[in-house]
Amino acid sequence: MNSYLELKSINKSFETEKRRKAALKNINLQIKENEFITILGPSGCGKSTLLKIIAGFSRADSGQLLKNKAQIEKAGLDRIMLFQEFEQLFPWQKVIENVTFAVKAAAKNKKNKLSKAAIKKKALKYLSEVKLENYQDYYPHQLSGGMKQRVALARTLAAEGEIMLMDEPFGSVDSQTRQELQQLLTQLWQEEDRTIIFVTHDIREAVFLSERIVLMKNEPGEIIKVVENKMPYPRRLSSREFNQLFEQLQGQLYN
């Protein structure tokens, strides 16, 4: 079994005013290297909590989190998070500087010395991957929401971590832009060796993007089922297969 990232019996609860509320209950999941996996579930089922544990931003109450059999202790550049909030970009930095931020951090982490020109070149490469090389000298507030998320995606890519964690990154953009971004993401994932763990509550998004879909339910946050999605890329929202899977998942989620 080529398990790359392993989650073993993860539990997490939060203290609220009245009681301890279980947010995640007995989460077991194995993720393969270079896999595109989505975690799909209704709002409040613990998707963000789970992703934050994988990122190392917060700790599980119990259970194990292993990468290549080694315990994950804290946050690191091997697992870069892409958030939903537009404010994840630094407003005081130009688009290009927001991306060089990641290039520099990654280089420093690997103890690589890069020249200024090399840093810029790398950042530009990722900016052009998200088709924003012409906007390098803009400030984030001059961009639309979709463009901001593309810059954030470029920054995440530029960190060159093996694993990218995405917490509903396209949740705040209009549906037209969302489809463009989804398409872009699957293209990029096919071109590069990356593992993507993508959180969403949008069934179509999960079906469009990923090879495996982890279904979760609410109260407590638990995994119901893991569904394989072998449809070839690029996927078409209008295809019969697509809609069959969509309906199957809908049935499983809301029963």
């Binding site: 804290k74 690191g76 998070m81 404010e87 407003p91 005081w92 507030h141 001059q142």
Partner: protein, 256 residues
């Protein structure tokens, strides 16, 4: 923007006209209500003989030094209290005690401890600037979005990188508004301290300058000094800080 200054210019002209008419009407003696012509003559005279320029340079050099020292100290203290809870407790207590204390109230003590030289004035300025600046900086640091600290963690920034790449730029709007308060307060503190502390070798700053003019009952001279104080105050507030804002937080969309 342009409209604001346009309006201001009109009102200044109107007020100046009323002033001049009152002076010319002879209701008050020329000794206590000089006309603008006398005031401007006094202004030109003081500039010509070099006394005023010397005082301006003296005042500005102290205030710049004071602002610089206080800003550096405020940054260090606000950063310490951001990163250390026990430092936060101490700095918070000190600020709560010292912030409401008017600089004037400290002057007798400063006279006894430090005499009446440049150091004394500098201490008054630092006192007037340090506490409001710490308050603003701390508020700024504590109101940066949580997402920034997660990003710093994720990209493995060390404390120093976090400070200079994220914390300080992210709280720049607070920093600048703190500096504006600091400037306004220190400019007032400076003028009063200069009046109280007097001069060494006839160099005592603008506050001392108008105080001297009063002693000789030179009212046009007093007004000349007041005009210079107003002009410098307004220039810094309206032009220097505006410029800084336009080049930073406005350009970055962090300030509407």
């Amino acid at each position: 923007m342009g409209n604001k200054y346009h309006q201001r210019l009109i009102w200044i002209t109107v007020l100046a006209l009323i002033w001049q008419l009152t002076a010319l009407s002879g209701i008050f003696s020329e000794m206590i209500f000089p006309g603008l012509d006398h005031i401007f003559l006094a202004l030109i005279e003081s500039f010509k003989d070099g006394t005023l320029v010397k005082q301006i340079i003296f005042s500005l050099s102290i205030i710049i030094q004071g602002l610089f020292l206080a800003t550096a100290a405020a940054l260090i203290l606000a950063l310490s209290s951001y990163f250390s809870e026990s430092a936060a407790g101490l700095i918070d207590t000190l600020t709560a005690l010292a912030h409401p204390l008017p600089g004037i109230a400290l002057m007798p003590l400063i006279l006894i401890w430090f005499g009446s030289g440049r150091t004394a004035i500098l201490i008054v300025i630092i006192h007037s600037v340090l506490w409001p600046l710490i308050l603003n900086l701390s508020t700024g640091f504590n109101s940066i979005p949580d997402i920034y600290t997660l990003i710093a963690e994720n990209y493995r920034l060390n404390k120093l990188e976090f400070m200079f790449k994220i914390l300080i730029p992210a709280s720049l709007p607070y920093f600048i508004s703190g500096l504006k308060i600091a400037w306004a307060r220190s400019w007032r503190a400076l003028i009063s301290a200069e009046m109280l502390f007097g001069a060494i070798n006839s160099l005592g700053g603008l506050g001392w300058f108008i105080f001297q003019k009063r002693v000789f009952f030179d009212l046009p001279g007093v007004f000349a000094g007041i005009i210079v104080i107003i002009v410098i105050g307004v220039t810094v507030e309206d032009f220097i800080f505006k410029k800084i804002e336009i080049r930073t937080v406005k350009k970055w969309g962090m300030l509407k």
